[in-house]
Symmetry: D3
Subunit: 249 residues, 6 copies
C-alpha cells in the first residue's frame, strides 16, 4: 500500500519529520511516499495561507494520485481536504481530522496543544468544520513566536509538557493532541510525562489511511462528494486542469 | 467610495450581471469596480473549485486592494473570505454572508434556493462556517444541470419561483435567498411573486460593504484576524507574495 | 430617508447621545428622527423592564411608523424587536442585532462589554434569541452600579478599555461591541486604544437600516413574520389598537 | 396553597377552561385563583401580542402576587415569564415550559400540536428560549383559522387527533403536547386515541407550581434572576410601578 | 400514592438519608418506599459502575414495580433511567433529571456542585443525555476523595458552601444543584448561605413523581419508549427475565 | 495482535457473521477472538436491553481482557462502551462509533440504515452520545419486525438497498452505514448498488482497533477515563468484582 504524505508547505525537514513519525506506526507493507510543496510558504499558520496551501495541495494530488492508494494532507488544519475528497477517487485524510477522530475513541473530550496561540482561530475553524466542537475541551498555545520550525520541538518541549498538563486539568480533557507538523513525533517522546493518552496527528493519519484503504469504500456517485462535473479552466497547473476537465469514468 | 466587486470566476458576463444588480441599490458616490478572474474556472460550484478560486481571490485582492475601500468576494459560498479578512486591512465581504446576515434582520429563518442540488453540500458548509445553521430553514436546488450560466436565470425563472414557494411552505421560512452569481438581479424581478422578503446576495453585499466603510472599523492587531506575520513564499503571484512578505506598518 | 431612532427608555439624554453617534456615520440624505418613550423606565436593564419597554416600543412605532422608512429600536437587548417585525411593514432593526451581525463580518467571534455584570443574563438571552451564541466569545461587565446614565461613559472610560482588553485576550475575541445605550459613541473615542475592531451598536443600526431601506424587501405574506390577522383589543394605546385591528391592505 | 392562574388574554371562557383542566389534577388543598386580563387581546397568537400580553402579565402579577404562593402564566408561549421570574419572589411557571419539561420525563423528544400553523414561528422561539430544541421532534398546526376560541376544541377534535398521529409517526415523537389555551383539557378526552403520552400544559403547570411551592426555593440574591434594583417609572400601572420602585427587603 | 425510592447502591444509610430528605417535601398521602440494592457497589461514581448499577436498577424495578405508582432512581447520573422508562408502564424519574428540569424553572442556567471532581465526566454525560448542556453553567467538584459516604456531608459542608459560591460567581449561575446521594438534605441546611435557589435532587424527584402520577400519562404504544417486544433471555434475574419476556397487555 | 470481538448478545451466529466480516479486512497478523455472551438476550434492540447487555459486556471483558490487545464491543449502539473505556487499560472500540468516525472521513454527513424503525430512538441516543448529530443525515429503518436474526440480511436485501437509496436522496447523505450486527458483511455485497460509500461497522471497528493498538496510547491517569478507584462490591461476577476491586498498578 502506498500512501502519499503530502506536505503543502515548502519545508522539506517538516516532511521528513512527519514521515519518520508515520513510519514508526505504519504496518508492514505500507509505503509512505513523501511529497513537499514546491511552491507556497514554509509553514502554513493562518487561514490565508491555508487557502493558498489547500489549492497547492490539490495541484500536488492531481500530479501524484495515480501512483498511490491514499493521500494524507500533512498540515494541521487540513488545508484543501474537503475539495480533495470531492475531486479524487482515492481516500484523502487530513492529519487534524485523523487526530481528532482517533482521540474520540480514547475519551469524550480532547484538548489541542500547539506551538503558538496564533493558531487558535484557524484551528477552532477546523474543529468546527469537522463538527467536533462538542468533543473539544479547548485549544491551547504557547505565547512565543518562532522563526524556524526546525528546532521548535526540542526548544519548547518543557513548555509544551507544562501547557499540556495545564490544558488537561483546566478543562478535564480526556486526551490530548499535539497540533502542528513541527510537533510530529513529540507524543512518543513525552508519552510518560503526560497523564492522558496523546495523539500524534501524522501517526493517526497513517493508521486511518491504512484503515480506509483496507475498507475500500467506493467513490460517491451521489451526494456532495461525488466527482464534480468536468469543467474547463484557465491558468491552473496542467495536472489540476486535466483532473478538473475529466469526466468520471 | 470604491468597492471592488471581485468575481473569482472567469466568466465576465457574471461579473457584469452582478455589478448591474449591485448598482441598482448602491448609494450615490459608491463606485463598483468590477474585476474578473483571469485564471480559474468559469463558475465555481464545488468545494474543490472554491479552494482554488479562493486562492485566486487572494491574488486578485493583493493586486487591486490599494485602490479600493472594500472588497466584495462575489461568488456564493464565499471562497477565500476568511483568509482575505486576515490578510488585508480593508473590509472584505462575502456575498453569502452578506445575504444571510441581512436575511437575519427580516425574520428568524431563511431558505436558500439555488440552480442545482449539486451546490447543497458546499452551501451547507458555508452556512456552518458562518455559524448560522440555526437560522437556516433549508437549502433547495433545482434538479437540472446547465452548460452555460448566461441564460440560466431566464430559462429557470418559473421553476425557481415554484421551488421558492415550496421551500417557504415546507419549512416555514421567513425569508429567502437566491444563491448563486447567475441569479443576481432575479430577486427584483420576482419580488411580487414570492410571499416572503427575498435577498439578492450581491445587492446585500454592496450595502454591507458601504456600511463597513462608513463604520471604519480598525484593522485587528490581536485575535485571529490580525495581519499574519510576514512570511517568505515561493511561486506565488508577485502581488500576493509581496503582501504575504510585508510586515504590518 | 427617514429613520426613527426609538428609545424605549424615558431618558432624553440617551436618545440624544445615540442620535449623535448615529449621525456621525449616516449617509447624506438620511434623517434620524429621535423619539423618546413618554412612559416606562429611565434605563431598561432587566428582562422585566425589557418586557415592559418592548410593549411600549410597539406603541411608539404604531404612533410614528407612518412617516418613516425604517425603525431602530435603540436599546441594547432589542426589546420588542421580533413583535415589531411582525406587526409593521417597514424594516425594524435592533441595535444589538445590528451590532452583532455587523461584527460577524469583522471576525469569527465578538465579545460584548457592558457597564455592569447585571446585564449578563439578559444580554445572553439576546445573543441566543439571534442564534449567535457560537459567534460570541463572551459577555463582560464592570462590577459597579450607577445611579445616572448621563456621565457613565466618561467616568468609566478607563475601566471599560481595560475590561475590553481583558475580554479580547481572555477568549481570543476577534471584535468587540460596547453594549448599552449610554456607551453610544464610545467606540469612536477609544478606537486606537483597543486592538480589535469595535462596533458601536447605534452606528451599526443606522447603516443596517439604510441598507434595508435601499434593498426594499417586501413585507412577508407567509411565514411567521407576516402581518398578524386583525384583532380587537381592550385598553391599549389608540395607535397600537388601531394597528392590531387593521387587516393588511 | 393558592396558585394564581393568570390568563394574559381577555377571554374569560379560556380562563375557565384552563382552571377546570387544572383542578382535575390539583392536589387537595391547592386553590387555583383565576385571573383574566382586563386589557389586551382575546387570544395571543403572535410575537407582537405576546410582547404586549407579557407586559400585561407583569401588571397582573404586581397586583395579585401578595395573596398567592405561586403564579402560572396561562398562555402558551409563556409571555412575560422570564421578566416575572426576576421581578417577583414567588415561583412563576409558564404553561409551555411546564409542559415541555414534564414531557422530558416521558421520552426523549416531544411534538407540539396546535390549532394553527400560524403559531409555528412563535412557538419555535419559545422552545429555543427554554433551550429545548434538541428535545423537540417538531411543531405541527392545523391549516385552518378560527374566529372564536370557544368551540375550537370540539370542532377540531378529529383533525387534531389525526394531526397528532401524523406528528408522532413523522418524527418518531415519544410524547405530545397540545399547545394553546383553547386546547386545555383535550389531552384527557383523547388519551386513549393517541399512542404516546400527552401533556396538557395547564395540568402540567399546576403540578409544577405545587412542586415548586413545596420545594420552597429561596429568591435569588445573585445571578440574573435576582430582584432588579429599584427604579422609578412613568405611566405604568400603579401596582407595577410600585413593584419596580421597591427595594428588595 | 406509593413511590419507590430505588437506591441502586448497596449503602443503606444513603437510602435512609434520601428518604428522609424526600419525606420532608412529600405531599400528604405520598408513601416513599425505600429499596436498597442487594448487589452492586456501595456508591456509584463512574460510568462503569453506572452501567452495572443501571442493570441492577432494572432488576429491582422488575421485582418491585407491581406495588408502586412510580419509581425514583435515586442515584445522581440516573443509571438505568431510559431503559426503565421503556420497560415499565409506570413513571420512572431520575434524581438528576428531576433536579435539572426543576432548576430550569428557577433561572436560565444551573450549576452542579459535587463532592469530587471525579464525577465531572460522568455528570457531564448525564447533562448531555438530557439535552440540557445549554442550561448548565458548569460542573464543580471538591478536590478531595472520601472513604465512606456516611459523614461526607457534614465534613465537607463549609467547603461545599464555598465552592457553590464560587460556581455561582464564576459562571453567573442562576440556580444550583448539590449533586450526589450523600448530599441529600444539604440544600435545606445551607439554604440561607447560598445566594441562589438550591435544588435537592431527591426532593425534586419526589415532587416530579407526584406530578407524573397525578397527570397519569398513558404508556407509549409507539415511539421509542413503547414497551419492547417480548424476548427470551438467559441468566438474568427471574423478575427481570419475566418482564422482558412478557408481551404488553 | 489479538482483538476480542465481544458479542454482548447470546446469538452465536451473529458473532460468527461479524467475525467473518471482520476477517475480510483484518491485517495479516490480526487475530480476531470471538466471544459470545453466555447470558442476556439474543439480540439487543432497546435501551433496556443495552443497559443489561452493557453490564454483561463489562463482565466479559473482565474475564477475557488479559489475553488480548484490544476489545471490540460488537453490538450496534455500543452497550457498555464508555464504562469499559474507564475500567480497562487496553483500547475498547464500539462498532457504532467506529462506523460513524470512519464515515466522517468519507463525507460530511452519513445516514444510518437499519432493519427496523424500532431502533431509531436508541440509535439516535448513540449518535448523540458520540456528539455526532451534526454529522448524521438521518436514521432510517424498515417497517418490518423479525423473529430470528439469522436470515434477515438476505430476506431484506432488496428492501435495504431501496431504503438506502431513499435515505441518500432524501437528506443528501454523503455516506451510509448499515447498522446492526445481523447486517455485518452486507456492505460488501451491495457495494456497487449504492451510490455512496458504505461502512460496515464491524469492518470499521477491526481497522480502528488495529489503529489504536499500533498507536499504543497510554491509559489515562487523569481526566474522566482514568481507572476508577478500587471499590468493594457484592454479587457481581468474580472477574468483574476483581477488576473493580483492584487498584491501578
Amino acid at each position: 500500500m502506498r500512501i502519499l504524505v503530502l506536505n503543502p508547505n515548502t519545508t522539506l525537514s517538516a516532511t521528513t519529520l512527519m514521515v519518520e513519525a508515520g513510519r514508526a506506526v505504519a504496518a508492514p507493507g505500507t509505503d509512505l511516499v513523501p511529497m513537499t510543496a514546491s511552491r507556497g510558504v514554509p509553514y502554513i499558520s493562518t487561514r490565508a495561507e491555508a487557502q493558498i496551501g489547500g489549492a497547492i495541495a490539490l495541484e500536488m494530488i492531481a500530479e501524484a494520485h495515480a501512483g498511490v492508494d491514499a493521500v494524507i494532507i500533512a498540515a494541521y488544519g487540513d488545508p484543501g481536504l474537503l475539495g480533495a475528497r470531492e475531486l479524487f477517487d482515492i481516500p484523502v485524510i487530513g492529519i487534524s481530522e485523523a487526530a481528532m477522530l482517533t482521540a474520540c475513541m480514547l475519551g469524550q473530550r480532547f484538548a489541542l496543544v500547539a506551538l503558538s496561540t496564533a493558531f487558535n482561530g484557524w484551528y477552532r475553524d477546523c474543529v468546527e468544520m469537522h463538527g467536533l466542537l462538542g468533543r473539544c475541551a479547548g485549544i491551547y498555545g504557547l505565547d512565543r513566536s518562532f522563526a524556524s520550525i526546525d528546532d521548535v520541538q526540542d526548544e519548547n518541549l518543557e513548555a509544551l509538557v507544562t501547557l499540556a498538563g495545564h490544558a488537561i486539568r483546566d478543562q478535564d480533557a480526556d486526551s490530548m493532541i499535539f497540533a502542528g507538523a513541527p510537533l510530529a513525533g513529540l507524543a512518543r517522546k513525552v508519552r510518560e510525562r503526560i497523564p492522558v493518552p496523546i495523539i500524534d496527528p501524522i501517526a493517526a493519519a497513517v493508521k486511518q489511511a491504512e484503515a480506509l484503504v483496507a475498507l475500500a469504500p467506493r467513490k460517491a456517485l451521489m451526494g456532495s462528494f461525488r466527482r464534480p462535473a468536468p469543467k474547463a479552466s484557465i491558468g491552473l497547473s496542467a495536472s489540476l486542469a486535466a483532473r478538473l476537465g475529466q469526466a468520471e469514468v
